[in-house]
Symmetry: C2
Subunit: 259 residues, 2 copies
DNA sequence: ATGGAAGCGTGACCGCCATCACCGCGATTG
DNA sequence: CAATCGCGGTGATGGCGGTCACGCTTCCAT
């Protein structure tokens, strides 16, 4: 284990809208370089012409962030983009009374802060590290200049944004169009297991989120999530061992999902 | 009044997911040109270098659409982008059981179908004309080629997408973080009146949506919207004369909005 | 060891609002 | 003109789920 720089975690239940500059992780910008970054060939900047790749490497600075660190805060003026090399980051927004909505969990290879940076507006979400993370940072102004100099990258950025939009709409559909919380939870679990499908009836996934966080993802309350998990277990739809979730009856969950 | 081409309206309550090609408005592509398009200087393509502007004019084709026409349908393979010159278009998504969620109402100057076109994926929303509309259409392939040839436009497209994303997040916040429908309705009305603020206490707006459509925008039911309007009237917060809405007590609505 | 915090499990309550059902009104259409 | 349809208004009902309250584990940190 590395001896991480000790970082003050985000205040629990606190309201962080309006861009509290004290929370900005300036002090963390460079702790340790991630030279062995495994996602050098991320979706956004792979196969660039040499000149562009050269310029890009000049303006990116690698950093590492411990669990609990915040990359940026909702409402804060966009400082730049973060390209995730490893780890996972929670992207959320919260209301004045402390309620939180988790929009999505970003994983390695994704680019964070892109919409706010290209539009030169405040970040619309808060990014909090939930697993030790390494990321490449590109400051706002340098990034825009880079895009202006290398027009051919603009299309890729647009495509990335289009996909982000796509998933946002999917999230909206799930929250806005379902009749019950059970439906949303079933959809969440199936989304989670998509891809991990091992072919036979059972699907195994590791569930790294707390009930509270799941509630915030589907727009519900912690207690209801707990109760629904119990209900699903009783119906033999799934099984939980520690942090491992086993979906035993995928079809059953799907039928719940379709009201 | 022009004698519009008669168009079969979208079937009420019907399920249109998966891209029913029968509904695609192919037959409407060119009805009448909008040479006097007042929004030639739209946000996305204004002040282009002459060569780009020239190329752009070669690949755009103006069309007119009557009320009820659909520009594109959710799930349909992206055919291209539509630049709205005049009129208003309802952007919605709907679930398998007929429930509909209106994501936003697009107005003149906006570009529709951009995310799906740049990512070469299906449209994520359905676009239905609610006011006679003139739009410039650019086919998918031509648009992508144009972006490749003229890299400097890519950044603008990215910015446009960033803003679209921004408003999608705002919509999600409203739907996912509020406690009551009253809260959402108050927010909707205040958003509507933003900008139309005449300085003194009262704000006047024309409300062109039915209660049903408002319900679909805030994720609620028609009856509750009706009841809430009644409640707001009784509390002297607003007043409705025909299709004109007068907000009499903006502060009151704001206090409802904040729970 | 031991206090405390974080996370899960449950019971009781009750208010919001979706849903169904029906009615009246105005506009459109044959 | 009658018939139809879209839209708004209203009552009754019932269940979902948010909220409060409390107890129980597990896991650190002192």
């Amino acid at each position: 284990m590395l001896s991480w720089f000790r970082f003050v975690p985000r205040k629990e239940g606190g309201i962080l809208r309006g861009g509290d500059p004290m929370r900005a992780p300036y002090g963390l910008e460079i702790i340790e370089s991630c030279l062995s970054c495994p996602h050098r060939e991320d979706r956004l900047f792979c196969n660039l012409p040499p000149s562009a790749a050269q310029r890009l490497s000049e303006i990116t600075s690698p950093s590492s962030y411990p669990k609990g660190a915040t990359l940026f805060v909702e409402g804060q003026i966009a400082r730049g983009v973060f390209i995730l090399c490893s780890g996972r980051v929670k992207l959320s927004t919260s209301s004045a009374d402390g309620k939180t909505l988790i929009v999505r969990i970003a994983e390695a290879g994704e680019v964070l802060g892109l919409p706010a940076t290209v539009t030169e507006k405040p970040y619309e979400l808060t990014a909090e590290v939930i697993e030790p993370t390494q990321a490449n940072f590109i400051p706002h102004q340098e990034f825009l200049n880079f895009l202006r100099e290398h027009g051919e990258v603009g299309l890729r950025v647009a495509q990335q944004l289009g996909e982000t939009y796509h998933s946002a709409i999917a999230e909206m559909r799930s929250i806005g169009l379902s009749h019950s919380v059970g439906e949303k939870l079933a959809r969440f679990l199936l989304d989670l297991s998509a891809g991990h499908d091992s072919g036979n009836g059972e699907v195994k996934v590791t569930l790294t989120l707390t009930h509270e966080e799941i509630a915030q993802m589907i727009g519900s309350s912690r207690e209801t999530v707990t109760r629904l998990f119990g209900e699903f277990k009783k119906k033999q739809l799934l099984q939980v061992k520690g942090s491992t979730l086993i979906i035993m009856n995928k079809a059953g969950l799907e039928s719940i999902m379709h009201s």
